[in-house]
């Protein structure tokens, strides 16, 4: 549905997007993840035909965006970073105008606008001026504008930015509903968004694609070994050697010590659950087991490890530092 080949965009001497390639299949939701300034907006602007690429090729909904821009645009809905609203226009009038320029046939406009307004839950603000809407409504009118002509491809630039948690959940839900009938690319710099909404993730940093995979695979791929976080009250005794003798455990490291309570990070062989044995060992030794939980490497850590050069410090809540491989180059 969308095919990007060796796309680059330079602004003068700044390279905003550097030779990226990826594909999005029909009905898929692709997350475009990267820190601010990574080149997400630039890529989306190229895909929507707003700006031309410096190099490379992009096929959107079966049409080359540079060769047949009108055909490609006809089949694309776009929600820019800031919803493109006319402040002095009422929501209904605004959608009427958008329907016209997007080529919705005159006879279908009224009904289509009503449907879309219901779907994006803006039917109660139809008569209000766009400039007087709250951020949440603005974003939804922006979304309504993007899906109005029932495009094959939807490109959403940070669709949940600036919304409150309830609105974020609603928007994500809506986006998920839209998948299937639409092919969606959404960009975000927030990680949970990707794992909750997207089937596939493109991680982009400094204009380069650093990883393309499913959120689960990314998590798995970067997790070298299983790590447990164990907090023990051993009355001053050293529990590490006892823990290290548990079958399957490969390494025990002291993470923190507070009075009697000592926290350890316990690595084990991959795919082997050592929790029961750890617990038994501690209890049998007459110590207090205060906490025992797996430390999965979160998408957050993966993201950091892929997009920052320095190794991130372990988070205070005990999440493991990223021991990820150095940023891998793009696949596909």
């Amino acid at each position: 549905m969308i095919e990007v080949q060796h796309l680059s965009k330079r602004y003068g001497r700044v390279t905003a997007v550097d030779d990226i390639s990826f594909k999005v299949e029909r009905g898929e939701i692709l997350g475009f993840l990267g820190p601010n300034g990574a080149g997400k907006t630039t890529t989306m602007r190229v895909l929507t035909g707003y700006i031309p690429a410096t190099e490379g090729k992009a096929i959107v909904a079966g049409f080359d965006i540079f060769e047949q821009p009108i055909e490609a645009k006809r089949r694309t809905g776009y929600l820019p970073e800031t919803p493109p609203l006319y402040p002095d226009t009422s929501v209904i009038d605004y959608l009427g105008f958008v329907a016209r320029i997007k080529g919705v046939p005159a006879g279908e406009r009224r009904q289509r606008i009503r449907q879309v307004m219901e779907r994006t839950r803006i039917d109660d603000v139809g008569g209000r001026l766009c400039g007087k809407l709250s951020k949440g409504y603005r974003q939804r009118v922006g979304l309504a504008q993007a899906i109005l002509h029932n495009p094959d491809v939807l490109i959403l630039d940070e669709p949940t930015a600036g919304l409150d948690p309830k609105q974020i959940i609603e928007t994500r839900q809506l986006i998920k509903e839209l998948a299937g009938s639409h092919t969606i690319i959404l960009s975000t710099h927030i990680l949970p968004e990707v794992s909750q909404t997207c089937q596939r993730v493109v991680i982009i940093n400094k204009g380069k694609v650093v990883a393309v995979d499913t959120p689960d695979n990314l998590t798995a791929r970067l997790r070298g070994s299983e790590t447990m976080y164990v907090q023990v009250d051993a009355n001053g005794a050293d529990a590490s050697s006892a823990l290290g003798r548990v079958p399957g455990v490969t390494r025990v490291a002291e993470a923190e010590r507070k009075d009697h309570c000592v926290s350890y990070e316990v690595d084990s062989e991959r795919g082997r659950d050592v929790r029961r044995d750890l617990a038994r060992t501690i209890v049998n030794s007459g110590w207090g087991l205060l906490e025992l939980r797996p430390m999965r490497m979160s998408l957050e850590d993966i993201f950091l490890s892929l997009t920052t050069d320095e190794t991130p410090a372990p988070a205070t809540d005990g999440d493991a530092p990223a021991e990820a491989a150095p940023a891998e180059s793009a696949e596909s």
Partner: protein
């Protein structure tokens, strides 16, 4: 065509949704009324003096020559002030607020957007010109001016206004800031206007040149009731050139990002 109309209607509605339409039409009507009044009083005084000297016949005061022609000339001054207000936001505001992203990612050509915006501004200008027809109507009630020079004068005004609009559109497409766009447009209009004077103070060759370049000089014949194709072609080419420059500016902006 329907795309052009969609843009044009949106533009026109936009003028009336904000203060621009009311300010420009109001200012226009006020100033036009003032010019009209001043010229009319002058005209009446003059013709009364003429009557005292007992002048009659072809020497007598002519409404078209002595009233309507100078009035039309004064409209060019009004355009100088009002038109920058009309055109300054056409592109600037879309760029500032990001709505340009909607237009440029919709299945529209640049040509449709530019011509749509041009027609939208022209429509507002036509509304302003319509206001002035009221004054002209008054002349028809109390006097008997010739209608033909009036019609040609208005054709000239429409064409000349189109030239200013195309320049304003072009300047607006160069900046995000509508105030800057408005000021630069005013400055440019002033230059186009002043060229006429420079010409009349200089030698005959320069005078000829400036007369050709000056948008306003071309209006004179229209005011005399003459529909000369050279002037019409001049105005139409000027408008086309202005819109062409706008298209170039929009396109190069796209490449620069």
């Amino acid at each position: 065509m329907s795309n052009i109309l969609a843009i044009a209607q949106k533009e026109l509605k936009g003028y009336f949704a904000g203060p621009i339409a009311y300010i420009s039409i109001g200012f226009w009507a006020l100033m036009y009324g003032w010019f009209f009044n001043a010229l009319l009083q002058f005209f009446v005084r003059q013709s009364m003096q003429m009557n005292q000297f007992g002048m009659q016949g072809p020497q007598a005061m002519n409404v078209n020559q002595q009233l309507i022609r100078p009035l039309i000339q004064n409209v060019t001054v009004l355009i100088l002030f009002v038109m920058p207000m009309v055109t300054m936001r056409t592109y600037s505001e879309e760029k500032r607020s990001g709505t340009i992203e909607l237009l440029l990612t919709s299945p529209l050509t640049d040509f449709q957007i530019i011509v749509g915006k041009f027609i939208g501004a022209m429509a507002l200008y036509l509304v302003m010109l319509a206001v002035t027809l009221i004054h002209i109507g008054v002349l028809f009630i109390y006097g008997n001016p010739e209608w033909k020079p009036i019609v040609t004068a208005y054709i000239g005004l429409i064409l000349m206004g189109g030239c200013f609009i195309s320049v304003g559109l072009f300047i607006s497409s160069l900046t995000k800031n509508q105030i800057i766009a408005g000021m630069v447009t005013f400055g440019t209009f002033l230059m186009l206007w002043v060229i006429t004077w420079i010409g009349s103070f200089s030698g005959p060759t320069i005078d000829k040149l400036t007369q050709y370049v000056s948008i306003i000089d071309h209006l004179d014949d229209f005011g005399k009731g003459v529909l000369d194709t050279t002037h019409i072609i001049y105005y139409l080419s000027f408008i086309t050139f202005g819109l062409f420059l706008t298209a170039k500016a929009v396109d190069s902006e796209r490449w620069r990002g």
